[in-house]
């Protein structure tokens, strides 16, 4: 492995001495920049080139968008900040532009500028009281998602624990209202395009919580500022005169002409003078001045790729979390704030991965997804990969790939082709697929003990294995598997091929290269890779809590057009909507649903159920001798439906259902011209749980409809009470017929004869499950 060691500069050299000096968090870490490079970075961060021409403009930090600053920042803060940026916000990179003005004028100029800025804003700043409602959640987020890499962590008293290189946030309560701050935190790059304050992928609710925490409780003090025309005009003049537009685009205000080139400038004068005069004052400390002078002393040359990368990693403080070669990495003081929901994964689970050789590790498209699209594969890691905005880092993926490409030795995998294979190739493909699966599974190398597989997590929820071939370059995968420790010292990832020798001797003859190739191939099958041993998908249990639940899907107990209804009383039934039949009852948990694999969401009762017949329930029998119209029989041998219009040709048509206020469904269907509403509900009486079924009829004329109420081993207990071994049914006072079924003479069917009057009528049945 080739080393990419940077020339390291001691941290001490650049530790700011005066805290009011502009803060660049990336300098606080062990970084790879030489002193002139530090100077160059500062030139970009402080935007020296906004006023000076320069032939070598490094990364230039875009200034905040001031279009709506008067709407999102408190006017009194604006005034204070403009009077003296570093007094309002220690460490601000904005220079003091009024320092050279007569003391009695400064406040007035700041006032006029404030009026001008407020007048430009579309929105109006509203003072709101800060509630600190979600402060606890905000505190937890602030101290876990990565904020403390650049900002100081806070003690229990809410006070910042000062740290060199940390951007202080003490000014925030004076600056923002809760709404304005959470808007900013939700999308910081919208108003600060530089990306130095990155998007931390906060949801609006999270942004609100963090804002609540940072603001603490405060009254909504401060008054709305009504911009006065005179002051606005005066502010506009100052805005021009002070050349604010050089950094901040605002409307069509033009920037002044450049004030001379940086190269060859007198580095002891102007902004760099120890005793600055009329120039903007940056409050540079001695080391910063020295670094900029060193940069300017050098003959200007374009940065090499390596230098450009180094400058980028420091400017965006990537090195605050990531190590690359010997530079960067989590600081001792912030280490405790890097957390994981998978503690067993050790530091791999909580510390962002090293960037050493990352250009050889990740496919470029994967790099871009992480950098620009917010993609991530480590859901267990509490620290989030910030989003700096694509325009700021567009150059980074290319730099990584160019610099790292030769870092790992190329590898050739001979993967089976996808089509037109010969028999030999087919055999080889099968062998590779099986070997890969065995190696990944719990009978092989048990990768799934720590990694998720296709969304399933039998052990720890480490990186989803199926992302591997999408993200990682094959050569890196090969070398990493052979020797994880060479890439990540002390990693919890074991090697299955110590010294290149396979531990699993039986698979693929113990051939290391073929085993790794087989794992790659198997993982490249993606979701079509059959689950390895040790991974199982369970059906989803649906439960009923406080309201009745209705669920539609195919079911062995209710047909393809099945509907399950569960009551909070833990009584459930299934309705076959194809035939209009209550077809199963059960007590206890509701249903299990098959939503894995190709499962279409079909359901089964969560516990054993009592199965009833599924043929049509209502029929206008000619007389009580006529056989009941049964469902057509479809078998494996004769799978085509021989009577495809059943039960529509028996007068049945399902019409749907509606819910009442308790979410109890009433099914609607027709039997001939009789409209039937069919509602069942759980009822407890005499300590017995029953299902009470109300059938409401609406008939255009009086007629007879037979109802098949029960089948099986039906016994009569009384004229209005019948039972099977599993169920007791109470029926209304109507004529009945209990007769052997056509299919099985040992079984009987209970038919009820409903004389349905013209207009509306109802009948009630009660089902009771027997113990």
């Amino acid at each position: 492995m080739k080393s990419f060691g940077f020339a390291l500069l001691s941290v001490a050299l650049l530790t700011p001495v005066v805290s009011a000096a502009p803060v660049v968090p990336g300098f606080a870490n062990k970084h790879p920049l030489t002193e002139p490079q530090v100077g160059q970075l500062l030139i970009g961060e402080l935007r020296c080139t906004a006023c000076h021409t320069s032939t070598t403009a490094p990364l230039e930090r875009a200034a905040p968008d001031l279009a709506d600053v008067g709407g999102r920042v408190a006017p009194e803060y604006l005034r204070k900040f403009l009077t003296s940026p570093s007094a309002a916000h220690a460490g601000a990179t904005m220079p003091d532009l009024l320092a050279a003005e007569p003391a009695d004028q400064r406040d007035k100029i700041a006032e006029a500028l404030t009026h001008f800025l407020v007048a430009q804003a579309k929105g109006k700043f509203e003072h709101q009281p800060a509630g600190a409602d979600e402060a606890a959640a905000g505190k937890a987020l602030f101290h876990s998602i990565g904020c403390v890499t650049c900002h100081a962590p806070r003690g229990d008293d809410g006070k910042e624990i000062p740290r060199d290189g940390a951007v202080g946030l003490g000014h925030v309560p004076a600056k923002y209202s809760p709404g304005a701050l959470s808007d900013f935190l939700f999308q910081p790059t919208r108003v600060r395009p530089s990306g130095r304050m990155p998007d931390m992928k906060l949801t609006p609710a999270e942004a609100k919580a963090v804002a609540g925490y940072l603001l603490g409780t405060s009254d909504a003090k401060g008054e709305a500022l009504q911009p006065q025309e005179k002051l606005v005009a005066l502010g506009r003049e100052h805005f021009q005169r002070l050349n604010c537009a050089a950094c901040h685009k605002l409307g069509d205000a033009p920037a002044s002409k450049p004030v001379g080139t940086l190269e060859g400038a007198d580095v002891m004068k102007g902004c760099l003078s120890d005793r600055p005069g009329k120039t903007p004052r940056f409050n540079l400390d001695a080391s910063q001045r020295k670094a900029i002078r060193a940069a300017l002393a050098k003959k200007p040359e374009p940065l090499t790729d390596k230098e450009k990368l180094a400058v980028t990693l420091v400017a965006f403080n990537c090195l605050g979390c990531h190590k690359r070669d010997d530079a960067g990495g989590v600081l001792e003081g912030t280490n405790e704030f890097f957390k994981s929901s998978e503690k067993e994964l050790g530091d791999e689970g909580r510390i962002p991965p090293p960037l050493t050789l990352v250009g050889a590790k990740l496919q470029k498209v994967a790099l871009k997804k992480v950098l620009f699209d917010g993609d991530g594969v480590r859901p267990y890691m509490s620290t989030r990969m910030p989003q700096y905005g694509e325009p700021n880092l567009r150059h980074l993926p290319d730099l990584f790939t160019t610099l790292d490409a030769s870092g790992v030795k190329p590898v050739t995998f001979a993967l089976p082709k996808s089509e037109g294979r010969t028999q030999q190739e087919r055999d080889r493909e099968k062998e590779m697929r099986a070997a890969g699966r065995e190696l990944v599974g719990d009978q092989g190398l048990n990768c799934i003990a720590c990694h998720s597989f296709n969304g399933k997590t039998p052990g720890k929820a480490g990186i989803e294995l199926l992302t591997s071939t999408e993200r990682v370059q094959p050569a890196w995968f090969y070398h990493f598997l052979r020797a994880p420790n060479a890439f990540r010292p002390r990693t919890v990832m074991p090697t299955a091929w110590p010294d290149g020798q396979a531990v699993q001797k039986k698979i693929l003859g113990g051939d290391t290269d073929r085993q790794i190739e087989a794992i790659w191939y198997y993982l490249s099958l993606g979701t079509s890779a059959q689950d390895p041993a040790g991974v199982r998908a369970a059906d989803t249990l649906l439960s009923v809590t406080d309201t009745t639940r209705t669920y539609r899907g195919r079911s062995s107990v209710a047909g393809y057009r099945g509907i399950a209804v569960g009551f909070p009383e833990k009584l459930n039934y299934a309705f076959n909507a194809e035939t209009g039949t209550l077809s199963a009852l059960w007590k206890g948990d509701f249903i299990r649903v098959n939503r894995g694999g190709q499962g279409s969401g079909g359901f089964n009762p969560a516990v054993k159920s009592v199965q009833l017949a599924q043929d049509v329930s209502f029929y206008a029998l000619a007389d009580e001798k006529t056989a009941w119209p049964l469902r057509p029989v479809v078998t494996k041998e004769a799978p085509a439906n021989p009577d495809p219009l059943y039960p529509k040709n028996r007068g049945y048509q399902f019409k749907g259902y509606f819910m009442d206020d308790a979410s109890v469904p009433t099914f609607m269907y027709l039997s001939g011209d009789v409209a039937i509403e069919d509602r069942s509900a759980a009822q407890t009486a005499d300590k017995k749980l029953r299902l009470v079924r109300t059938l409401s009829f609406d008939a255009p004329k009086a007629q007879t409809l037979w109802f098949r109420a029960l089948t099986g081993k039906v016994e009569s207990e009384s004229k209005q009470q019948f039972k099977t071994p599993e169920l007791r049914l109470s029926i209304p006072q109507v004529p009945t017929a209990l007769r052997p079924t056509a299919a099985d003479p040992k079984a009987s069917e209970l038919l009820l004869k409903f004389e349905i009057p013209k207009g509306k009528s109802t009948q009630t049945l009660t089902y009771e499950l027997l113990p």
Binding site: K368, F413, P416, E470, Y521, S600
Partner: protein, 501 residues
């Protein structure tokens, strides 16, 4: 040819750890990649639409509501209504409107009611209490059998006359065991259901093109060597004869068609089987999707870029979106398909345009091979505003093709016949599962006329072969601003040749 190049890339995975071209990672079941994802993102970035923790959204159908919110029907049988989906950094609110339905693959909204195509039926879903929760589920049509694994139902949007259309998959790849499986049905505003077409195998979506003509997307399998768009007209037969047994229940379909012969060509067989409708657009298998699903027409008036009035189609297996254009020649629909955007996170089941003209895509990845590894996802494809250099549209001419571009083509490459590399093939029409590309030819480009504005080129070929798919590889073209084509390929299915004017 490009196909050869791809095949080679798939053949042996030669891994030069090359800085600029990381070798394609997946070769196998889901097919090779186009390899264009990295460039596509500059023009059409994919924006993830976050789904709250603990919520599963396996979306199968979308419907943009009049107020700009987006309704999402899921395989779990829920309807969610999402607001704020178009925000730059979306964090939509998910309102659960309805539950308990059975795999939603069709969703439209009219006069305060949702019309839901679920596996078991077409249902009108309403909220009569006006509390934001559906409480009434009325059966509009269940005039088809539903009794076997694989019997999916896909629903269209309303057509201009208020009809809805339902495409019904077979009972498995080969058979139709339950009533009307393998049929497309029309449900009229008065609730009557009529059979419209037979011969479907396993539809993935149904809808209209920009002229209001009805199409469905068919999956590769028996009688279908590739996925394809097919035009549905009353009484037509889509090629898979398993559904012939239900004609007796559908007198409106007329007599049972002559049984097609396996091992023929559709171009000749359609002369014998008069109801047989040829594929309007063939999507060469693997290169252009493996299981294409829902589609939508770009009616965003330019908000989504230069592809107004074109179809956008999702693919489940390859987690990507393609384009298609159609034209009617001598009364027969035909057209072309084009790569558009790959690299989505899950298997795409459907697509829809949002109010702001972004393309919402989503689905799930379970059950079948899928490239995107997220078990479910919602993503938005936005147009960045940058104009990609693309083949905009290929149309037929009496002696060749007209190829339109999104940016002017430079004269040097655009006027050179060598820049237009074409190949053709056809598929056997047979009952076997899938099938090869056969009878390949290499047409001779006799002349090219690049339009003065550089935005189109008319090419004259030595001959035009009906029943062939014309495969364009225009990788040699450069735009006037020296851009390479974002996607170099297009595939035109030639059924009919227009007469010279």
């Amino acid at each position: 040819m490009n196909s050869f190049r791809n095949a080679l890339a798939r053949f042996v995975f030669l891994l030069a750890v090359c800085a600029l071209h990381p070798a394609p990672a997946r070769a196998e079941d889901v097919g090779g990649r186009w390899g264009t994802e990295e460039r596509e993102r500059e023009f059409y970035p994919v924006v993830p639409v976050p789904i709250p923790k603990g919520m599963v959204i396996e979306s199968g159908a979308y419907c943009l509501l009049p107020d700009g919110r987006m309704a999402v029907g899921t395989r779990h049988g829920e309807i969610y209504i999402l607001s704020g989906i178009d925000e730059k950094k979306p964090d939509p609110k998910y309102h659960l409107y309805a539950t308990g339905l059975d795999e939603i693959f069709g969703l439209d909204y009219r006069d305060g009611a949702f019309y839901v195509t679920q596996s078991c039926e077409l249902t009108r879903v309403t909220d009569t209490k006006k509390d934001g929760k559906a409480n009434r589920f009325e059966t509009i049509s269940d005039a088809w059998g539903y009794a076997n694994y694989h019997e999916y139902a896909f629903g269209s949007k309303f057509d201009k006359d208020g009809n809805l259309h339902v495409a019904l998959g077979l009972s498995n790849s080969y058979d139709s065991y339950a009533l009307f499986r393998g049929f497309a049905m029309k449900v009229t505003p008065d609730g009557k259901t009529k059979a419209l077409a037979s011969g479907l195998r396993s539809p993935g979506g149904i809808g209209h093109n920009e002229h209001g003509a009805l199409f469905y997307i068919e999956s590769q399998g028996p009688w279908n060597c590739s996925c394809s768009l097919k035009a549905i007209t009353p009484g037509s037969f889509m090629g898979h004869p398993a559904s012939f047994n239900w004609y007796k229940y559908a007198p409106e379909m007329g007599p049972v068609p002559t049984a097609p012969k396996s091992g023929t060509r559709i171009v000749t067989e359609k002369e014998r089987v008069k109801q047989l409708t040829p594929y309007a657009v063939v999507f060469p298998y693997v290169r252009m999707g493996r299981s294409i699903t829902g589609f939508v027409v770009d009616g965003t008036k330019g908000k989504f870029g230069p592809f107004e009035d074109q179809m956008f189609l999702g693919d489940y297996t390859q987690s990507l979106v393609m384009r298609a254009t159609t034209e009617k020649v001598n009364g027969v629909w035909q057209g072309a398909c084009y790569p558009f955007r790959e690299g989505l996170s899950t298997g795409i089941l459907n697509v829809a345009f949002t109010k702001e003209g972004n393309l919402l895509c989503g689905g799930t990845n379970r059950g079948w091979p899928v490239r995107g590894i997220k078990p479910f996802a919602l993503e938005r494809i936005d147009w960045s505003g940058k104009m990609p250099f693309e083949i905009k549209r290929v149309t037929i001419e009496p002696t060749g093709f007209k190829v339109a571009f999104t940016k002017p083509v430079d004269t040097a490459t655009g006027s050179d016949p060598k820049s237009y590399r074409l190949g053709t093939f056809t598929h056997p029409y047979h009952g076997g599962y899938g099938g090869p590309e056969i009878e390949k030819t290499t047409p001779v480009v006799e002349s090219v006329k690049l339009a003065a504005d550089g935005l189109s080129a008319t090419i004259v070929l030595d001959k035009l072969i009906q029943g062939h798919v014309y495969e364009f590889d225009l990788g040699a073209l450069r735009s006037r601003d020296k851009d390479e084509l974002l996607h170099r390929n297009a595939y035109y299915t030639l059924n009919e040749v227009p007469k010279a004017k």
